[in-house]
Symmetry: C2
Subunit: 422 residues, 2 copies
Amino acid sequence: MNLLYAQAGGMTAVINASAAGVIAAARVQGARIGATLAARYGILGALAESLHDCASIDVEALAATPGGLFGSCRFVMPVEVEQPALYDRLFAVLDAHRVGALLYNGGNGSLEVVARVSKAARRRGYPLACVGVPKTIDNDIEACDCCPGYGSAAKYLATSMREVCRDLASMMSRKGRVFVMEVMGRNAGWLAAATALAARDVDEAPHIVLFPEVPFDEEALLARAETVISRLGYCAITVAEGIRRTDGSPLRARSHGDGHVRFGGAGEEIARLVSDAFDCHRHYAAPDYLQRSAAHWVSAVDHAQALAVGHAAVNYALEGRDGVVAAIRRLGDDPYRWDVVPVEAATVANLERRLPPEFIAADGMQVSEAGRRYLAPLVMGECLVNCADGLPVHYHRELPGLPRKLSRYCGWADEIIYARMG
Amino acid sequence: MNLLYAQAGGMTAVINASAAGVIAAARVQGARIGATLAARYGILGALAESLHDCASIDVEALAATPGGLFGSCRFVMPVEVEQPALYDRLFAVLDAHRVGALLYNGGNGSLEVVARVSKAARRRGYPLACVGVPKTIDNDIEACDCCPGYGSAAKYLATSMREVCRDLASMMSRKGRVFVMEVMGRNAGWLAAATALAARDVDEAPHIVLFPEVPFDEEALLARAETVISRLGYCAITVAEGIRRTDGSPLRARSHGDGHVRFGGAGEEIARLVSDAFDCHRHYAAPDYLQRSAAHWVSAVDHAQALAVGHAAVNYALEGRDGVVAAIRRLGDDPYRWDVVPVEAATVANLERRLPPEFIAADGMQVSEAGRRYLAPLVMGECLVNCADGLPVHYHRELPGLPRKLSRYCGWADEIIYARMG
């Protein structure tokens, strides 16, 4: 049997490490696995029959490269009963390429795809082990103690906040200064919480952390900011992009033409609020994509876990486990110990794990001790970066496509499926 | 004689390396230099007699710490004829602490201070060697081939752009996607130009670079963006914060309450323009202070140069050179060779070196080959980062103040001078 791997959802600094884990684990299996294939742009590439053979890939170089080598999509397969022809096509492609294992590397939406494809395969009697490989900087997959991608984004953001703190502490200002860093997190404050690791005492940044889980309280924010600015002369605030008012409305949301609400700007709004209230200087940073692609500063723990879930997924597939996700389980905080266990994809898909209340301090504007205990091990360790001419070397190339065995698919969503497939 | 060192202007990731260079160079001089003192918050600390003794400082740890350990100010001494009493005070403090050398670590405004204090000392017959130690991420000091601080910011921004390029290339999108990174640079496009190092061919980010030196041409931008998006599906654009329209007005400037124009938002505006024109997704990153404090990813060349200008400044002071700045001179591109030479501060102060036209490509939206040749060596080499618990360890502490020998100064600008001095 052949193995098919694909990447989905938003990118992380270490999703390619999971790809490398899959490819390397499959290679050591020898004849038990025929070819390791990869689909271009996630499940869309499987539907379009746009596939690559991973035989020639340099897994070590791949594991150090941000983004997703094979491309990603956010397309979630509809349930089979709604679009049975789409599943006909998918299984025709899998069958044509003798695929016995589908490994799907993504977040909550992608695990939904795993659960649905797995169910469809069983119903059709197609022999498939469909396994989820978790990935998200948002750290919001249920039943995973942490998600590969999160630890590296956490390390990058905490490091950045600590560095900026030194800058803020240096600048003399009579008026005072507020600095806001807006981090990703529409519904969950995991990334915002991670920045708290930068501070070892109350005088260090971030002095305030605003979570999507805590309704925004302007009065409390301003009172706290005033205290900090009068003590230190500056105040550093982490703002999750998805913070909301008590009525649930986002602090600032802009329409995105197509009717989709696009979050963003909450950090800038907080900076404006504070600087207007105290007539102080304001600065506002939005790392945006930088926080999910900073492969030059990944967490060694996160990188190891990204590799490990790739490895584990191959083993699950060989054991015939179907419809599971390779989840990281915490065995101990200090020393940090973890392993990888299979969890039913259907039971966790599309749930969104938010920051538990016990990880947030009583005032709603800081991380609790329990939260810090949880976070601390995930940013541990540095990885060497292969550089040339002073900049990181990334592995990317035009991968030769496998010859197609089927004719072009014409049916539901074919214009989505073939967009940019070449 | 004693030596007094101070830091001024905006921070960089390596200004403390220059401080370490000064302190280490002074230490090896033994009896030729009595004590190495540092003023808190730049020249303000000298005026306030807020001084530290650097004897106990761990220079190696200091050299790896972003921000300025001693604090910085943007206060530029008025010319002596306007405020002679201020100079009376300054020389009283220098005399009380037997200061024979003043080393001032800053950018264009700080070199003006060097020139003015040097001139005042000569006129008064005060034996002082006043030496400038250059520092600015803006790279805009005349007569310096490059400025310490620039190479590290350049490396950080080029690395970030290269990493984001991998992310952009991964994401399937039918609509297309524009990504904008706004970098510092009000009048000079040095930092914007540096991001061009991320690309090794025309398909790699940044596909477009907008400089303050080139009047913004909306039509040309949109035409280029359309070409790139239709070819690749995405387009990455670097925008200097200070880009201007043909009439010289900033693309977007917001009033900052006190009447000062605050730049910022130009990148967001460009992202909006492109996404509105082509109905594509947009993302916008503003690294802001992160780009000038990223000590976890400094250029080894830049770090070495920051140390070297500190060393050289001490030597100049001992040689009795007064009113000079320790400038980096380029001796060769490939292999890159450089040394440090003294340049008259008065001839370079407050000039602002912009990107020369020959460093900008003919289309005004990219860096020329000559520009790339200039930029390439400045980002070379990585430095090991000392981490604990997965985050960089910084050197910062409450430094004990030297006992004051004079009474408190009461006079022009004393409320500025004593603000936040404790």
